[in-house]
């Protein structure tokens, strides 16, 4: 049964997602952050879709579980394109855009083939433990991709504050979700207590953090990366 806190989180996330799309359109940055814009629109659509299914079938129905987990998986895959968009921005000055596009195409193909194979193999129990394992793996791929991106940001001494904060918020989102799904996999009993709150909280945090960054940080704001990176990474950057 969903409580008022679930609805507040869903509403906050929905408003922040819509706000980011409007904010990017008004500031004429829609094309600069195209993949992010598409992701936000897809997230708005997914929230509306999930709400319709919830009203028709109820929160305990298998249909709602299918729609919730599989729209979430599709949104996670679309977030990989947001990461690729960030890679493209980071490597822009090096003229590596072609390689990033190739890597994105390869990543999408590999993810599609792997997902198809895994879903085909587990088609008899798609709404069971399998979905937790799949989400855990998808989010962990996101963690690895974002961590590599953050490494590139530090190594290349990227100074754009907006880009830095967008990447860091994405890293927090992916790692919180990956840790949560891994814990659910290890200790299924913990889900009823506090783990059930982590995905909605992380899902609300990401659009809120991005909305905040687009509102507060101007495009030309700059930041010294060494001040932001953890001491170990910063030391590596200086060496």
């Amino acid at each position: 049964m969903l409580g008022p806190f679930d609805y507040v989180l869903a509403l906050l996330g929905f408003l922040a997602e819509a706000y980011v799309v409007v904010c990017l359109c008004i500031s004429k940055n829609s094309f600069r952050y195209l993949s992010l814009n598409i992701y936000m629109l897809a997230a708005v659509g997914a929230t509306v879709g999930q709400d319709i299914v919830l009203r028709h079938f109820g929160p305990a129905s298998a249909m709602y579980s299918y729609v919730y987990y599989y729209t979430d998986a599709l949104l996670t895959i679309s977030l990989f394109f947001v990461i690729m968009g960030f890679y493209q921005q980071v490597f822009q000055q090096m003229g590596a855009g072609k390689y990033v596009r190739m890597a994105s195409a390869l990543l999408l193909s590999a993810t599609a083939v792997f997902s198809l194979a895994v879903v085909h193999q587990n088609r008899d129990h798609l709404a069971s433990r399998f979905v937790v394992e799949m989400s855990q793996n998808l989010y962990f791929v996101g963690v690895v991709l974002t961590y590599l991106l953050w490494g590139a940001v530090v190594k290349l001494r990227e100074t754009r504050t907006r880009l830095i904060q967008l990447v860091l918020a994405l890293g927090i989102f992916f790692s919180a979700d990956a840790a949560c799904y891994a814990l659910r996999n290890l200790f299924p009993g913990l889900e009823a207590n506090f783990l059930k709150w982590v995905p909605p909280l992380a899902g609300t945090f990401l659009p809120l953090a991005w909305a905040y960054t687009f509102t507060k940080i101007p495009e030309d704001a700059r930041l010294e990366t060494a001040r932001v990176a953890s001491p170990r990474m910063a030391a590596h950057q200086h060496s």
Partner: protein, 135 residues
């Protein structure tokens, strides 16, 4: 086994990302210099703010009218300050270098709150001036 590895790696990366996110917020405020008025009110000498003044600064900031744009920053930095407090206490006997680093981070958090207080005082003064000119 794989789930345990993913869990440990994700928690480690989460902490690292959260630290960097908090530091990116603090770094943006670190560029601002404190006004003489705030120095006098809080009793700050020199360029740095002592980490022990964090709680007092937070109490003072609660007395000022709220500015919508620093609430999230204050919450994030408050969490980071507490995290560094735990790290400082845990590393006190084992790793003095980590203790010193955590203390430096806590002092940066206190500086951040002092700048936020400075901005809120300036904002209150503007509000008062607007009211006076309206009358």
């Amino acid at each position: 086994m794989i789930a345990a590895l993913i869990c440990v790696a994700s928690v480690a990366v989460l902490l690292q990302f959260f630290m960097a996110y908090s530091r990116s917020i603090i770094a943006a405020y670190r560029k601002s210099t404190l006004s003489e008025q705030v120095r006098e009110v809080v009793g700050i000498e020199g360029e740095n703010v002592s980490s022990d003044q964090f709680r007092r600064l937070v109490q003072l900031i609660r007395l000022c009218p709220q500015k919508a744009d620093d609430r999230v920053d204050l919450k994030v930095v408050g969490t980071y300050y507490r995290m560094m407090g735990v790290l400082r206490s845990a590393a006190r006997t084992l790793a003095p270098r980590i203790t010193a680093w955590a203390e430096h981070e806590r002092a940066d958090c206190a500086y951040f709150v002092a700048v936020a207080l400075d901005r809120r005082i300036a904002y209150s003064r503007d509000l008062l001036a607007q009211q006076m000119s309206g009358q």
